[in-house]
């Protein structure tokens, strides 16, 4: 019974994280230039590297999202999810500490996107905990590559 509950919890976390990553990636893939500018506003990357990140990161989010839902490379996708959340939390915190007043660019790159704030950090911490729950799972259910137990 306890194991069943854990498996259901892991499954819910996988689907929520997966849908969140897929949703977050779509607007960024559609508008790479706007997303690159959005990264630039954080004033955290040197040498114009925001463009490389704007080209690659949305695809990483999309692939991680698909992997989590489809049960492919779940361990790798979850660890990447943890790393991305840690980086996002760090980027948002440093911007807030430096008084940079910009929109988040987390889900939408348009002008009506959410402003950076404590709520964005709390949201990312929740995603971080969900990723940890998936990575720390005891049983592999509905995973196809590598095969489930």
């Amino acid at each position: 019974m306890k194991n069943n509950f854990k498996n259901i919890l892991v499954m819910i976390c996988r689907i929520c994280l997966g849908l969140m990553f897929i949703y977050a990636s779509l607007d960024k893939i559609a508008h790479p230039e706007e997303f690159a500018k959005q990264i630039g506003y954080y004033k955290a990357l040197p040498f114009g590297l925001e463009n490389v990140l704007a080209i690659v990161l949305p695809w990483t989010e999309l692939i991680v999202g698909i992997c989590l839902i489809a049960g492919l490379l779940v361990d790798g996708a979850t660890l990447l999810s943890i790393i991305m959340m840690l980086v996002f939390i760090l980027a948002i915190s440093q911007a807030m500490l430096r008084g940079i007043d910009i929109t988040c660019g987390c889900f939408k790159v348009s002008a009506d996107s959410d402003k950076l704030g404590l709520d964005t950090i709390i949201r990312d911490i929740i995603f971080l905990v969900m990723s940890y729950i998936v990575l720390n799972r005891q049983e592999r259910k509905f995973e196809f590559l590598p095969k489930s137990d």
């Binding site: 630039g40 692939i63 790798g76």
Partner: protein, 154 residues
């Protein structure tokens, strides 16, 4: 026991790198691998496209000519002090309609925030550019440089 699936992680990163780069090459709105920094303009009249950056002297010059200044900082900082007659950015749509009805989209606008490290003036300039505004000056030195120079404030 936690798993450290480096090979799986690497596979996903390499796949996104390859797909991202190939898509960027194939799409019509591709971007360069490294970003260009917003350029400082020499002739203030020679602006009719993407937002440009201006120096303190150029900002003062435009201020003296009565060009609209928009303060892109948070409300709280605007209330504490701003460049005389500057508009508070507030809600984007509201600002856009206000600017458009006051001087149409080809009217010059100077945008500033706290200092060189704040990104909001550049962000606002790019958002206005995307909406069709064509004479956008980003005063990067912002409030800090302006007030340090002893120029008028209110």
């Amino acid at each position: 026991m936690l798993r450290v699936p480096l090979n799986q992680m690497l596979a996903i990163v390499i796949l996104s790198l390859v797909v991202g780069l190939i898509t960027n090459i194939l799409r019509s709105d591709s971007i360069p691998i490294l970003a260009k920094k917003i350029s400082i303009v020499e002739d203030l009249n020679d602006v009719s496209g993407e937002p440009v950056s201006i120096t303190l002297d150029q900002a003062k010059n435009l201020f003296d000519k009565g060009v609209v200044f928009v303060d892109a900082r948070d409300d709280q900082y605007f209330k504490e002090g701003h460049i005389p007659n500057a508009w508070n950015s507030g809600f984007f749509m509201e600002l856009m309609f206000k600017l458009d009805s006051a001087q149409t989209k080809i009217g010059p606008v100077v945008l500033y925030c706290s200092d060189d490290e704040c990104g909001s003036s550049e962000e606002l300039a790019n958002d206005l550019f995307n909406e069709g505004f064509t004479k956008l000056y980003v005063f990067k030195g912002g409030w800090l440089e302006w007030s340090k120079a002893g120029y008028p404030v209110e």
